[in-house]
């Protein structure tokens, strides 16, 4: 059996295995979330200003919250199988619609951040490794550390102050200029304009990770036997670095990027909060505190499907990057 069909079979197997994983996640989250005190009715009643116990009992019945937990879970799973993610009683909208509305702002932010952070991270890490232990290396390391260690909200706020208030280059927050009613390409430009500050803020944070990982990985590769061999064979440093070492060094970086994709949905909570970016991170956060279980479970479901898919892609890329890794 040749390599490609082995890989295809592996992909198929992993996808099939993915389903029970996603189900396991849903069940685990369901029980965890129900461990939290209070429910959606409490929150709605609290916000409304008051509610009689009878009213609240009625609402619980309507939302199906008065059923025993296993029954609620069974109902939820049954719906999920038919691709119905349930209803958010708080927002009075189907969960699917809520998630889809907020998904593409998240995707936009996520993709821009990854592209920016990974590309700059690889470049900086490479540069640092090639200029090992010189002042260039030290500066890059320190820069990476500083951007990583500074609290995200502080960076975000500084960005707003620096580039929006003191210099009127960018808007303070939001995804688009509501009062302007842009259409078509103007709207795209407007959204891109709003995307700049949040992306830079979030990228600075992740940049550090990729830079450090890339540098460390490169250095580890330089210590390997095959590098000694290559030098003995008389290959140029340049060729060793860019043809052999780089390819192997990318492995851990790719892993990390893969891990980050899953984390980005939640990790952007702070940036979404500071910049009022209408993404899934803030939605998840709000739905937790509103005990909007259907919505939160729906977000977890989406996130898990995403991570399963991305992990699989990462593993397949691994195989192509390192022929010695076998796929069984």
């Amino acid at each position: 059996m040749n390599r490609s069909s082995k890989i295809l079979r592996y992909v198929g197997k992993r996808l099939l295995q993915g389903i029970p994983i996603i189900l396991a996640i849903v069940v685990m989250n369901f029980f965890l979330l129900n461990l939290a005190e209070g429910d959606a009715v409490d929150v709605l009643a609290g916000e409304a200003g008051s509610a009689t116990p009878e009213y609240m009992a009625e609402m619980r019945k309507k939302f199906g919250l008065d059923q025993p937990l296993p029954v609620q879970l069974a109902v939820y799973l049954k719906n999920v199988v038919s691709l119905d993610l349930g209803y958010s009683f708080r927002h009075d909208m189907p969960v699917t619609k809520l998630i889809v509305d907020r998904f593409w702002p998240t995707l936009l932010l996520m993709v821009s951040t990854i592209i920016l952070a990974v590309s700059f991270g690889i470049l900086l890490g490479l540069y640092a490794a090639v200029n090992l232990n010189t002042w260039k290396d030290a500066m890059i390391s320190v820069f990476a550390l500083i951007t990583y260690a500074t609290p995200l909200f502080w960076v975000g706020l500084m960005m707003i102050i620096m580039f929006s208030i003191k210099n009127d280059w960018f808007p303070t927050s939001g995804m688009e200029n509501i009062a302007a009613f842009y259409e078509g390409f103007d709207r795209v430009k407007d959204i891109a304009h709003h995307l700049v500050l949040p992306t830079i803020t979030l990228s600075l944070f992740y940049l550090a990770l990729y830079t450090r990982m890339m540098r460390a990985s490169m250095l580890e590769q330089y210590g390997q036997d095959y590098v000694v061999t290559a030098r003995a064979k008389g290959l140029t440093e340049r060729r060793i670095t860019f043809v052999h070492v780089l390819r192997n060094a990318l492995l851990p970086v790719v892993t990390m990027a893969g891990v980050q994709v899953g984390a980005l949905i939640g990790g952007s909570v702070i940036v979404e909060s500071v910049f009022a970016w209408p993404g899934l991170g803030m939605l998840a956060f709000e739905s937790l505190f509103a005990r909007d279980l259907n919505l939160l479970l729906g977000i977890f479901l989406l996130s898990s499907a995403l991570v399963v898919a991305v992990n699989l892609i990462v593993d397949v890329i691994y195989c192509f990057l390192d022929p010695r890794i076998e796929v069984n």
Binding site: A48, S164, I165, I178, R291
Partner: protein, 529 residues
């Protein structure tokens, strides 16, 4: 609160003045973007008194009346009213030619439906405000006659579009009011109609071209933006991206800073119908604070002015009684002992010593837990201050932060608390906002924001009942004096200070400040300069 005949004359005068006031050259047009914090769950102001709904609902729905900054009633959907001599019949003469946003006419049938089927049944305060209304007659399309079991002077203060919005019968009849589609697709008679709600971003309201008031509204469009972070909100205000922010959407510290700008103003007007009061609820049945002497000592030790100055940057007034001093205007407030503005640690220690609570080797007399209302940073600081202040009189407190549902469950379902820092609206009459803390009949397990202390005093109950129905102003004063005296002794709830909410606005926005409802008003007269 008496309703003499001359009130009608006042209303007539107001109506004439309002009608003829459109003489200045207000510029029409423009979009007004303002802050709504946090995002409301729905737009159903007839089911929920949630603040964010109040910022938007009254632009879409009208009430029977509005109230100006002096408390005078301004005709909105009702042009005038008459009260019978015994106070048990109130006739409202409704405005003619008003239509709903979908074109159907507004009639007395809508008023009857709104009060009897909606507000009395599902609104949080409606059953209380309209308790005495047994039926409403509609002799013709523009007259609604309220038949009351007993006189209810406080009811006339609850007719704003925030407190009692008029809703369309034809959209709600025969449905489950709490889950009707109207909640997220509001249809009202107000100056703005609902256009779009982008969850997580904004709500957009467009001008109602068929508004009953000629020439209004001036503004083309109102947009409520949701921005979760407080500093970002201040930044948006600074940059002119938003023009208006009420109910401390801009933190006091930023308001103080922004006020220095020429284009931004700050006002404490617009909250006189709200009367927010910061307070401590105590568990009077279990735990370390069941002794009234301890609660009096706690009240005596707190430096209220310090809390106002350091946490709220000077905006607020120390509480001097169970009632807000804003009720002094109607003769209901009186200053009480045990409410020192600056705190008297020595006196507090003496109260505890006299009551027999000795300090142990660490100086601790009692240990307890303080729960905090989870709505914002300011209350954290307040809790941290209280912990230190209580430490000075030998009470060792542990602070507990929880999220809203956990906190609500703990306090109002399980009574699993000892001391709870909270704030309540006392509203425009004690019956509407104060009675709920102290009446035995308000001990309702599972209902939020009522008597969580489980305080029960038969004498007080009698007084509360009397205060509710007494039409004579002097007699009512006397009743509430007795009430305040009892509460100053028992203190199941210790009032800390009267909050002053702030409205921060860009001076470009004019005409939005004439109503006592402040941000919860219709903005029908607002315009951009």
């Amino acid at each position: 609160m008496k309703l003499p005949k001359f009130m009608n004359a006042v209303i007539m005068t107001a109506a004439i003045t309002m009608g003829g006031s459109a003489v200045q050259a207000q510029q029409a047009g423009g979009s007004m973007v303002f802050l709504v914090q946090p995002e409301p769950p729905t737009m159903a102001g007839y089911v929920s008194t949630s603040g964010p709904i109040g910022l938007l609902g009254p632009k879409i729905y009208d009430g029977l009346f509005d109230y100006d900054n002096d408390g005078k009633m301004i005709p909105v959907l009702a042009e005038s009213y008459d009260t019978s001599a015994d106070g048990k019949t109130v006739t409202f003469n409704l405005r003619k030619g008003v239509t709903w946003h979908d074109g159907k006419p507004f009639t007395s049938a809508d008023v009857q439906f709104t009060i009897m089927e909606v507000l009395k049944k599902v609104h949080p305060r409606g059953p209380n405000s309209f308790k005495e209304v047994s039926s409403i007659d509609t002799p013709d399309a523009h007259t609604a006659v309220f038949n009351l079991d007993n006189p209810a002077p406080y009811m006339m203060r609850a007719l704003s579009s925030y407190e009692s919005p008029m809703v369309p019968k034809h959209h709600l009849e025969g449905q489950d009011i709490k889950s009707a589609k109207l909640a997220n697709n509001p249809v009202g008679t107000g100056p703005f109609k609902f256009t779009e709600w982008k969850k997580g971003q904004y709500i957009r309201l467009d001008k109602n071209d068929n508004y009953w008031k000629e020439g209004r509204p001036y503004i083309d469009r109102i947009v409520g933006r949701f921005v979760p972070d407080a500093s970002t909100r201040a930044a948006a205000m600074e940059k002119g991206e938003v023009l208006y922010a009420a109910y401390n959407a801009i933190a006091n510290i930023d308001a103080v800073r922004l006020e220095k700008r020429d284009d931004i103003s700050v006002t404490t007007d617009g909250y006189s119908m709200i009367n927010p009061m910061a307070l401590l609820e105590f568990n009077t049945k279990e735990g370390p604070f069941t002794d009234a002497a301890v609660r009096r000592a706690i009240s005596t030790a707190i430096d209220r002015q310090f809390m106002i100055d350091t946490i709220f940057f000077g905006y607020g007034n120390p509480a001097t009684s169970a009632l807000s001093s804003n009720f002094a205007a109607t003769g209901l407030h009186a200053e009480m002992p045990h409410y020192p503005a600056s705190g008297d640690v020595a006196a507090a220690n003496k109260i505890l010593d006299d009551a027999g609570y000795k300090k142990d080797s660490d100086g601790v007399r009692l240990k307890g837990t303080l729960d905090l209302i989870p709505y914002g940073e300011d209350w954290r600081r307040a809790g941290e201050y209280l912990k230190q202040a209580m430490g000075d009189i030998g009470i060792d407190l542990e602070l507990r932060y929880e999220d809203v549902p956990t906190w609500l469950k703990r306090i109002y379902h399980n009574y699993d608390f000892q001391m709870n820092l909270n704030y309540f609206y006392q509203l425009s009459d004690p019956v509407l906002g104060v009675h709920r803390h102290y009446g035995t009949n308000m001990i309702r397990k599972g209902t939020h924001f009522v008597n969580s202390s489980r305080y029960s005093n038969a004498d007080l109950d009698a007084l509360l009942g009397a205060g509710m129905t007494e039409p004579d102003a002097e007699k009512r004063s006397a009743i509430y004096l007795d009430i305040q005296n009892i509460l100053a002794e028992d203190m199941p709830v210790v009032n800390l200070f009267e909050l002053e909410f702030l409205t921060v606005y860009n001076t470009k926005l004019k005409g939005a400040y004439g109503s006592a409802m402040g941000a919860y008003a219709s903005f029908g007269d607002a315009y951009l300069d």
